[in-house]
């Protein structure tokens, strides 16, 4: 079977280094388990800066067969819709896939938007927020949490699935694969290579400004539990 895994390198942020998004690691692991069982080819795809090549090499080291990086200065600062258009265009250029799989959300952003946007653009049914997946005779089944319910959903391939962080234990890379991955030449595509109209690359969302919100003043030190209880009642946060 042909599997495509969409991955993202998260931004470096105060003590947390840039990394392969945790939920995408779980998505990759789910895809590798499918490949182990059914055979076939697993491709990983990301849109990112030049440094994002490192997460693709990590995926190759864990068992992905090939990787593509879409990298273009014109795409810096793209919102999730443009990102999805780019990923969908790259996916189409790569060929038809039985299963497209991605992390449900990223730790920087966490809006859960790219997966469903790509599904809509590729015309694939979507099963989102899976914490368990199984495939039998072309039927993909997932279990997901939809508080207070646990739901089991299924669809027929080809389909897109998003996987939640913690769904499985991602395998480590073995040394032999790491060495091969480090030597791999990963193709880099630009926006022009994808044949997207310039208008498709314009984000409909604009960040107009940022500011520190006015909040209750921080840093009030209290010296007793009684004081704390009093303050909590004043703040009306108890029940």
């Amino acid at each position: 079977m042909e599997i495509l895994v969409l991955v993202k390198q998260t931004k470096e942020w105060e003590g947390l280094p840039a990394m392969l998004n945790p939920a995408d690691q779980n998505a990759l692991e789910a895809a590798l388990q499918m490949k182990d069982r059914f055979g076939g080819k697993l491709t990983v795809l990301t849109m990112g800066p030049a440094g994002a090549e490192s997460i693709l090499k990590e995926c190759l080291a864990r068992g992905a067969d090939s990787a593509v990086l879409v990298q273009d200065d014109a795409l810096a600062g793209s919102d999730t819709l443009v990102t999805a258009r780019v990923l969908a265009a790259a996916a189409k250029k790569l060929g038809a896939f039985d299963l497209v799989i991605a992390g449900a959300q990223s730790i920087d952003g966490a809006t859960g938007q790219v997966g469903p946007k790509v599904a809509a653009l590729l015309g694939l049914p979507i099963l989102a927020y899976a914490r368990e997946l199984s495939l039998e005779e072309n039927i993909l089944k997932i279990v997901r949490d939809n508080n207070p319910l646990t739901e089991t959903w299924q669809t027929r391939l080809p389909a897109l699935c998003t996987v939640v962080q913690g769904a499985n234990k991602p395998r480590s890379a073995i040394l032999k694969n790491k060495l091969a991955a480090n030597r791999a030449q990963i193709p880099v595509w630009t926006a022009a290579d994808l044949g997207l109209e310039a208008s498709a690359l314009v984000s409909p969302s604009t960040v107009a400004g940022a500011w520190k919100p006015q909040k209750a003043a921080v840093g009030t030190k209290l010296t007793s539990v009684k004081e704390l209880v009093k303050v909590l009642m004043e703040q009306k946060v108890l029940s």
Partner: protein, 325 residues
């Protein structure tokens, strides 16, 4: 805004009743609609009148009912797309739940619409709406504007205040029965998760959270007790989870859950950035830590420097008396 008008809320339901986030969205919808003398419409996949009554009581002028089971993912996107084409709403608000985020994403991808995701507010600025949402670092708020129509926006449970309900308030009810093509996706079963409330941190109004200072699984028992008295849920930092003192379902932070309760009590949590990134938007943050230099005190509204093993039980005892529990 040309011929687009009215503010919609896509009301996700559970057990036949609107989810709380739908009611919170109705509050924002009313606020936005009022300024333009528009109506508020709730779209709901239920055919029970109680759900309709609740939606109207919380602010819906018009309720559009679609058949149950037509809300999820692909079916939901087709249904809502059809209704949007028919009615041309100016603004569509969706709860940022797994189902809602998926629906918003599908509509966005299909119709080429931008989404203001996880907003905390929306304000009119002339003919435009400025959506307020946390900036990616969690420390600041950003204003986002979207160039496409209708405006799509999502809000997390608890991010918006619950509006007042008006018990006798009524509105118009219409049933829509969109014809759908045969779809490949099917809900096989839905079961109640046991102890679901224990780890529903994303929707919790009060969280009592423990970190390295808690020290052991037994140490968490006092936090569970405090949470029970407050009607809250127990959370944890990554350290506590990694040490095996509590399960990953309770983890708060960028590699765990993002929460926005009205009260977050951080017990023995140092306050490293990845943890704060997951709870920094809590309305009131209380920190209890024996280390006066702990970074948590820089973002906590109220802090007590002390041993949580003394402070937490004392707080529980005081609250039991006051809350008559």
């Amino acid at each position: 805004m040309e011929n687009f008008r009215d503010v919609w809320v896509i009301a996700e339901t559970v057990d036949g009743q609107p989810r709380r986030v739908a009611l919170e969205l109705l509050g924002l919808a009313r606020k936005l609609a009022k300024e333009k003398a528009w109506r508020v419409t709730a779209v709901v996949p239920e055919d029970n009148l109680e759900a309709v009554r609740i939606l109207m009581a919380y602010g819906a002028d018009l309720v559009l009912q679609v058949p149950a089971g037509q809300f999820h993912a692909d079916a939901g996107a087709l249904v809502i797309e059809g209704l949007m084409e028919k009615y041309k709403p100016a603004v569509v608000l969706i709860g940022s739940t797994p189902e809602g985020r998926t629906l918003a994403g599908l509509l966005s991808g299909k119709l080429g619409l931008g989404v203001a995701a996880d907003v905390r507010n929306g304000l009119w600025n002339g003919e435009q709406i400025l959506w307020l949402r946390p900036a990616f670092d969690g420390k600041a708020m950003a204003t986002v504007s979207i160039a496409s129509l209708p405006q799509l926006a999502t809000a997390r449970p608890g991010a918006l205040p619950l509006p007042q309900q008006q018990a006798g308030r009524t509105g118009e009810l219409r049933t829509e029965t969109p014809a759908l093509p045969e779809l490949r996706t099917l809900l096989v079963e839905a079961m109640r998760t046991p102890r679901a409330e224990d780890t529903n941190l994303e929707e919790a109004r009060i969280i009592v959270s423990g970190g390295r200072g808690v020290g052991s699984p037994k140490g968490f028992e006092q936090l569970y007790e405090l949470a029970a008295v407050l009607g809250g849920v127990v959370g944890a930092s990554r350290v506590a989870v990694d040490e095996g003192w509590i399960s990953y379902d309770h983890q708060v932070g960028v590699t765990g859950k993002t929460v926005a309760p009205k009260l977050y009590i951080a017990c023995g949590i140092s306050g490293a950035a990845p943890h704060v990134g997951g709870m920094g938007n809590s309305d009131v943050i209380v920190a209890i830590n024996s280390d006066p230099q702990a970074p948590i005190f820089e973002i906590a509204h109220y802090g007590i420097v002390g041993d949580l093993n003394q402070v937490v039980p004392e707080l529980t005892k005081e609250l039991k008396e006051i809350l008559h529990k």
